[in-house]
Subunit: 280 residues, 6 copies
Amino acid sequence: MAEAYQKEFFNVTFPAEHVAHVEINRPEKMNAFKEIMWLNLRAIFQQLSHDPSVRAIILTGAGPRAFTAGLDVQAASSGPTFSSSTHDDPARKANGLRRHILEFQACITELEKCEKPVIAVLHGISFGLAMDMSLACDIRIASADAKMSVKEVDIGIAADIGTLSRLPHSVGSLSWAKDIALSARVFGADEAFRQGLVSAVYKDKTEAVDEALKLATLIASKSPVAVLGTKEIMNYSRDRTVEEGLRYTAVWNAAMLQTEDVKSAMMSGIQKRTPKFSKL
Amino acid sequence: MAEAYQKEFFNVTFPAEHVAHVEINRPEKMNAFKEIMWLNLRAIFQQLSHDPSVRAIILTGAGPRAFTAGLDVQAASSGPTFSSSTHDDPARKANGLRRHILEFQACITELEKCEKPVIAVLHGISFGLAMDMSLACDIRIASADAKMSVKEVDIGIAADIGTLSRLPHSVGSLSWAKDIALSARVFGADEAFRQGLVSAVYKDKTEAVDEALKLATLIASKSPVAVLGTKEIMNYSRDRTVEEGLRYTAVWNAAMLQTEDVKSAMMSGIQKRTPKFSKL
Amino acid sequence: MAEAYQKEFFNVTFPAEHVAHVEINRPEKMNAFKEIMWLNLRAIFQQLSHDPSVRAIILTGAGPRAFTAGLDVQAASSGPTFSSSTHDDPARKANGLRRHILEFQACITELEKCEKPVIAVLHGISFGLAMDMSLACDIRIASADAKMSVKEVDIGIAADIGTLSRLPHSVGSLSWAKDIALSARVFGADEAFRQGLVSAVYKDKTEAVDEALKLATLIASKSPVAVLGTKEIMNYSRDRTVEEGLRYTAVWNAAMLQTEDVKSAMMSGIQKRTPKFSKL
Amino acid sequence: MAEAYQKEFFNVTFPAEHVAHVEINRPEKMNAFKEIMWLNLRAIFQQLSHDPSVRAIILTGAGPRAFTAGLDVQAASSGPTFSSSTHDDPARKANGLRRHILEFQACITELEKCEKPVIAVLHGISFGLAMDMSLACDIRIASADAKMSVKEVDIGIAADIGTLSRLPHSVGSLSWAKDIALSARVFGADEAFRQGLVSAVYKDKTEAVDEALKLATLIASKSPVAVLGTKEIMNYSRDRTVEEGLRYTAVWNAAMLQTEDVKSAMMSGIQKRTPKFSKL
Amino acid sequence: MAEAYQKEFFNVTFPAEHVAHVEINRPEKMNAFKEIMWLNLRAIFQQLSHDPSVRAIILTGAGPRAFTAGLDVQAASSGPTFSSSTHDDPARKANGLRRHILEFQACITELEKCEKPVIAVLHGISFGLAMDMSLACDIRIASADAKMSVKEVDIGIAADIGTLSRLPHSVGSLSWAKDIALSARVFGADEAFRQGLVSAVYKDKTEAVDEALKLATLIASKSPVAVLGTKEIMNYSRDRTVEEGLRYTAVWNAAMLQTEDVKSAMMSGIQKRTPKFSKL
Amino acid sequence: MAEAYQKEFFNVTFPAEHVAHVEINRPEKMNAFKEIMWLNLRAIFQQLSHDPSVRAIILTGAGPRAFTAGLDVQAASSGPTFSSSTHDDPARKANGLRRHILEFQACITELEKCEKPVIAVLHGISFGLAMDMSLACDIRIASADAKMSVKEVDIGIAADIGTLSRLPHSVGSLSWAKDIALSARVFGADEAFRQGLVSAVYKDKTEAVDEALKLATLIASKSPVAVLGTKEIMNYSRDRTVEEGLRYTAVWNAAMLQTEDVKSAMMSGIQKRTPKFSKL
């Protein structure tokens, strides 16, 4: 099954029943991203989203040093963002950049659109794109050695792949969110936990990945219908009024409450056994 | 006066001037909810909302064991959500479920619509519906023994009575909110406080209810015009842009600043005496 | 240069390159605001917003006792909000009040609209308007002695200059936000930090102002194009869906990524030297 | 069956299979509304909404002279809007008025919320409330003698029961909409048709009611699942972005496409016979 | 009184009680706009908005040939939009343009924000800015000789002062709106009337101005409280859901229904005399 | 060049400079759509969107009888919407349907997202999907023989590919829009024109295609930067408040006004010659 997911710079494995593990695999460059990588990331998560044997996913970075150091600036400097464009006209150049940013954003947003929950494990250097990507995941946990930064200001740009749009909805303190985004300063796992950016910290990468796997396994043991709905409705409601959220929820559950899973789950609860749910 | 509020499974008392105490009263079933209870809850809070002698409300659960264990699954299994519907057609069944969810949501939303602030005191088992209800209240406090859980995933459904729509607007860490909603794990009062779900924790239920009563009494001593506006504008603004919030506020206060309460409050401040405000 | 900013009740200085320091200067009245002050505040920040030599701003209160004690109630009591209006008709009076509130709100919102980041330093008494103003700033820090309160309920009004609209988007715990707004209770710097209202606390005002200045200097050393975009996109996204945020960001950066600053910043990074950015 | 709907000032009949006819019945006062009438209107449409034997509704006014002349000003002048309130305080009076307007609006909005399409037939005098009510219906037709007016400005108020909120979404020309609302001038059926306020005009009331009945009968012959969805999605989409509309539609139809009606409808189409659909 | 409104390139007169007439006065250049003109336009309408003796306004162009030919391209070519900027950097240049566009938009939006209804009379050449301005007015009427065009595409730009944002909300046919905006073709008064862009057409400018004056006089004879609310609520509702519109309306009228005008208007109606309303 | 666009069931030609003609080509089945066709439609318009040699597009149906008769029901009846799904569980089936609808919607929305204006020419039978598709185009014109219908209700479904979401924003009369959607009745070109659904009617298909080509050629002669912005901003503004539209426009034009096209267009205007614009 892992073969169906073979893409350059990524390892996809299935360490537990219904759980996929996506590993960013370019450790010799601190998992820095070049264009092919985000296209591959999108392809992998589009496939996982509809894969009936997958119910929860963890996303990690290979090697001891970094979740990802962010954009591979060297590679990018010959790409459309930073290189001299084929157009001289600033308007035509702008439209080329707009197309490019929208496509890059769409790749990262695939993590949020994926029907299955995604748990990101941040360790070591987690700069720039590491924030964009992990903020598009559902749950963020960190190892104690994680060093994070919204780094884009330091290369002269406002982060445009999602951090600035998702951060104000992901942590409580807007003052802190602006502090880290405007100063580009590096902060550690403890600060990230205290501010709610990550919801757990473990002593090292090994333990953090183990715990992420346990959490993914737990989620994967639940009704996939219920888990899908929970992710979908929370993302929908994060962005809208409570009233809109409730209305959407009612329409959503009008179909979903008809599932057999409700009976299975209740029976299993009464009989103290583990329910089995069919594939989604 | 308490007589006007007599409804099965609820005690309504008036422990202090302008303060109502609504107690969920089915302790032998850990305050689990059946249909009549949420209809009664709605009726009580609709009446309290317009009752001129009430200015603040606390909501608690009877008995030592639970705020509420949530939906009475046994009772519900013969109700419209889980029982075999009168319709076989999945579309007609869906519309029946939609009507039912919307009505159930409307009952809980009455806590939010109530013109007077509502303080929920969570203690003991506080599962499922306990989250839906307390998230529709204005202030949540807990006793140290409270055990909370967004339990719905464990019975095969995405919570649809409000938790998933209100939680992302009620706590800061979206990662934590998804963690508890997707895993259905039980968490305690300290974690709830650290994450902002509750804003105070007291050593046991008795103390928590006492402190809730003190806070309600304090709020009830303020101008009811000012308190009404503060609740209304915060709920409105939670869901909208700052710009929309400001515009609504200006129209709201265009009438409300004409109140006599401003003069009374100011005079009392200068004269170091407690102001008296007329009924709303 | 400071001369261009001379306005009654304010000191504007330039303590570091590209950094402005705006001090509310009415210490003998605990920096309480009368009408001319908020008009002057607006004028100053409109000018700073477009001043090409300014890249970051700190906002403080003069004297040891207060950031600001809020509205100068004595002065206000002869102003349009509280005095007997020229109109007897409640509708005409309401429209006068609405115009007045909208204008007052617009003055405070100028802090948010200012193209340059604004860091507020709260110390001593920080009541009422202190909350409205600092919540319209980007970053809030406090000295250990700061005493804060959303005080308006105590004078019979729902706060209408921004606190109730911005607070639910600025801290994580909605329960805590309603607690302080409904009770008008005084809370200290530690509680404000724990709840995310401020993102740092320092031992006294001197240290807090020093640290604010350091942070402003750090921000002012970054590309002004990147800093402008970061503030603008975060404020935009705070209020909207992630999807809307991403779309706006793509259009914004379509122009902004064409800046020379990207090259300067990257080169400086490689060459380990401080980049110089031209004026915005 | 009609007995179940007996309410003062209304006749409810069932002139064709699955079609209800609601007639406002106070012709001696030109069908002017007093408070009990709008409460009865709400009760009737709430019941029709869930009545499985009803699939389309027409709304008309009794007698030759008027659909309705609007609010019964004489009756209203002793009601909460216009009479001296129990409160002297302008803020408390304002809150009483707000409650009253919200309740009145909710009565009229029941026409829009009703799950079955409602066709209004305007004839003769159709002033004020006639506009509020018919704009909350799905389809408006008129007889040639209809005289319409957004009359509220002439009694010193901005129409607050729905006309000003629905009109800009119901006709194309905003200039015309403001012209009639600001001038309160009377206009005829032809002008209303040309501007899109009504979608058909017939020579007299008899013919208009006949044609409305034919249209209702046609709609009632369609799948009730399809008709419900069409009304719901159009109302939802009228108020939102196309993107939001599409997303809601997909969730809606995820349940509704599972209906047996699709097969019945298709088969009937092929076999050139009239399909029979089971009750909703 | 007209003296208070003396601004270059505008005549402001008061042809009837409570009615102001603003005439664009640069006929020798077909009323083409240069920068000072839109600043003056803003100043005039800000003043009219709060002028208690004004209740309705008509806006016309001086001379027989044009309402306005639009932007004075010759003058503009030395202004910030088209001239070489002081910045070479495309990002800095973009920010300068953004500031400039926002300011220009704000001038035109003053017509919409003005508390009193504004009736635009289009005659002769009405190109570009003529559309931007008249779409920000409440009512548009035309003389038969009016020649209109959304002209901006012909000078290489997407109209950015309001036409493209207001047009889809002002006429019914989106297909027609895009046709005229994408082709920049000239169309006449009859087509504009048929498509709802204007709500009346008169045989020549003289008659059109006379009729506009009559309509303004009619509106000015109504309660200014009712007229203000009608304009405000229609503009608010045009842009929002019906539900939001209703909620805002209820808060608005909570103050406004307390006006004496209701009684005056009703009494006058009964007594068949013209009511007198006090100043707003 | 046409070769690059070869897709089954479509002809793509380039009848004039910068103009593409996409013809739905399955005349023997009245251009009824099966799944491969909408996937091909998406692919073609994605490619046209970024094709620098294309500036305007017309969309027509092959043969004399139909623009399109809509969904190929026979083909669809073996597809996911109508056939027995692989899932028995109504919830899992619902999720499969949701995925399918979202994908189908995305294909049609590609017409709206296409950076170049699309003109649809409706002729003959134009049912169901014909409405969905043409409503996603920018401009709709018709031949006199066009017979249109929102047909979906007749096969038991609420139209879910866009008609119900786009129709209320595309025509003025909501009453008429609901009439045609709820009754599924067939209407002709004249009625469609009068109601604003199409913006022009020509005597037969040949003339209609000729006129569409002329209009496309005219649009293609304008600055492609200006045309792109006009389409983008109108679609954006259709769905949002005027205020949001203005803000987005300012950011958009901050880049786009820097184009050389403004100078070219102005110079050409002065020199009475046809401007040449470089590729976008």
